[in-house]
């Protein structure tokens, strides 16, 4: 379980995350909201990539501010929205870094197995030896997700992982995430831009606006005309197609 307690983060005058107290359950949690709502800041604060100005974050019983970073990295993997590498690495090398928190140099039998599995799950076999700067944006995005998976954690935080992915790979990644939830008991928090994807795959939806959580609940509770029209300040329509919610804008 992930809990935040009065979490606050300011950037100068802007309060990016404003006194947020939430509890995120098991399964796949989607965070939605307009640009600048504070989704990335909240996710990165939970993943201790950003130091909060006030408040507390507890992930699986560990306070992220006081737990050794290494211990945390064995329980929690976090992937930011933008990923630029200052050095030249192959896909395989990048994924191998996911084994670092476990003290592995990436060469033991167990490490190899985890790396192969992550490459395989993200469909990166054909490009495993290629350098990241020679890949398409979508392939690179998948390589970073694979590194997070190789970290073999209980919690996975992903910030807009569908960026750059074509429909096929987007659908396949979301299916993979739901499989990981059921088969490996992974708890996943993912910032999603596409509301239809959130409606289709999320167990729980958290809506943010101006640094605050304005709604939290099941898809049926949050993906509604009133909530969405309010949240995005644009009249929304919600249709049901084959039993799924589809969001349309006026």
């Amino acid at each position: 379980m992930i809990q935040t307690d009065s979490l606050t983060k300011r950037h100068g005058d802007i309060v990016a995350v404003d006194d947020v107290t939430i509890e995120l359950g098991d399964g796949l949690t989607a965070i939605i909201g307009p640009n600048g709502a504070g989704k990335s800041t909240l996710l990165c604060s939970i993943g201790r990539l950003i130091r909060a100005d006030a408040g507390r974050v507890v992930v699986g019983g560990l306070d992220v501010a006081t737990t050794r970073s290494r211990d945390l990295a064995r329980r929690l993997a976090v992937l930011r929205q933008e990923n630029h590498l200052p050095i030249r690495l192959s896909v395989e090398e990048l994924v191998g870094f996911g084994r670092f928190p476990h003290g592995g140099n990436g060469r033991s039998v167990h490490d190899r197995a985890r790396i192969e599995n992550a490459l395989d799950l993200l469909g990166l076999e054909p490009v495993r030896g290629r350098f990241l700067d020679e890949l398409s944006g979508g392939q690179r995005q998948r390589a970073f997700v694979a590194m997070a998976l190789a970290q073999d954690t209980d919690y996975l935080l992903l910030d807009e992982p569908l960026n750059n992915l074509d429909p096929r790979h987007a659908v396949e990644l979301m299916r993979l995430l739901t499989r990981l939830v059921t088969q490996r008991d992974l708890r996943i928090v993912v910032v999603l831009h596409d509301l239809n994807v959130a409606a289709r795959y999320a167990d729980e939806v958290v809506a943010m606006r101006e640094g605050r959580v304005v709604a939290q609940g099941s898809v049926e509770q949050v993906i509604t005309v009133e909530q969405l029209s309010d949240l995005f300040e644009t009249p929304a329509r919600v249709a049901e197609v084959e039993g799924r919610r589809i969001v349309l804008w006026e």
Partner: protein, 344 residues
């Protein structure tokens, strides 16, 4: 940790794509990084032997002793500059900045000249060299660590801003040095002027051992964090995500870099582009893993210094100081890197 369902059992892969015959996409160069480092080591040993023993006269004691002194200085500088440059580029996540370009050594020179200016040239004569060396090093390292800690920690600076800041700082400290020098009387000026140019042929013998001890101590202190270095090279956020105690490790590295640059500058004087040259040749040859790039950078530096000095002395018979040539080459690499836009 809970036992998860392991491996592929039941989890279908995304886009298995072209299923077979794709492993050939992996690149296998003819000489692996290990072989290249071995090759560098052999060349370095050869150059060292050539420099030391070629054309020794019958009364060999004195020339050998002289060559040995120069060689020891070069060895220490190759280690200090190679290691400090690679580490600095790792923590700043770039390939064109070096402690030299960022003005580290300019700070050191300014402090040296300021000491002479404030306390008079007598201190240079009256104080035992070892004492002034120690005091200067502590002062300089402390100052540099404070300055660059303040500059780099906790902010996300654009690379261009950092380059500019470095160039400005370097210029400011060089100007301060030049200004103070003008205020000195001619005799003192001559002493100080000597400090401002790198020279391997006039190394102070008494400083060799303490410098060696300091450099070794700095290297030894890196041992416990050796595994963190590669991860650090991914950048701040990925490193934290993978469990590196980023602030602590970066602070440690900044101190090591400052000490190494200080040791090297105090021994032979400032070298600005040399580090850039060796670090980038090392990355090109053996990649970015520190277990390879650090030894490669040191060996390349050694070959460049000793080989260069040998070539100038014995082949060309020039009296040119080697640093002039090396700085020129390094400067060319710097411009090429900036133009090629490989700053990141």
């Amino acid at each position: 940790m809970a036992e998860h369902t392991r491996a592929g059992a039941g989890t279908r892969p995304i886009a298995s794509g072209a299923a077979s015959g794709t492993t050939s996409a992996r690149r296998r160069p003819a000489f692996g990084p290990g072989a290249r480092i071995a090759l560098l080591a052999v060349v370095a040993a050869g150059v060292l032997a050539l420099y030391l023993f070629q054309d020794l006269p019958a009364r060999w004691q004195y020339p050998l002793d002289l060559r040995g002194r120069t060689l020891a200085g070069m060895l220490l500088v190759a280690v200090a500059v190679g290691v400090s440059t690679v580490l600095f580029q790792t923590i700043t996540a770039n390939r064109i900045l070096t402690p030299g370009i960022m003005g580290f050594d300019a700070v050191f020179m300014a402090i040296q000249v300021f000491t002479v200016f404030a306390l008079g040239p007598v201190v240079l004569v009256a104080t035992p060299p070892l004492v002034s060396w120690g005091v200067e090093l502590v002062l300089m390292s402390g100052f540099v660590v404070g300055l660059y800690w303040w500059l780099f920690m906790g902010r996300r600076l654009d690379l261009h801003v950092i380059v500019l800041a470095g160039l400005v700082l370097g210029t400011v400290f060089r100007s301060i040095t030049a200004f103070l020098q003008r205020l000195l009387d001619p005799d003192t000026f001559a002493i100080v002027q000597d400090l401002a140019f790198a020279s391997f042929t006039s190394v102070d013998r008494t400083l060799l051992l303490p410098t060696a001890v300091l450099v070794l101590a700095a290297l030894a202190s890196l041992w416990p964090i050796r595994h963190d270095l590669d991860v650090l090279g991914l950048g701040e956020a990925p490193a934290i995500g993978l469990g590196v105690e980023h602030r602590r490790v970066v602070m440690h590295v900044i101190v090591v870099v400052a000490v190494l640059v200080g040791a090297s500058t105090a021994l032979v004087g400032p070298v600005m582009f040399f580090g850039l040259l060796v670090a980038n040749v090392a990355y090109t040859m053996v990649g970015h893993r520190h277990s390879r790039s650090l030894p490669a950078a040191v060996l390349i530096g050694l070959i460049a210094l000793v080989g260069g000095q040998w070539f100038l002395d014995r082949v060309l018979g020039f009296a040119t100081e080697l640093p002039v040539v090396i700085e020129f080459l390094g400067g060319v690499v710097f411009i090429a890197l900036v133009l090629a836009g490989r700053a990141r």
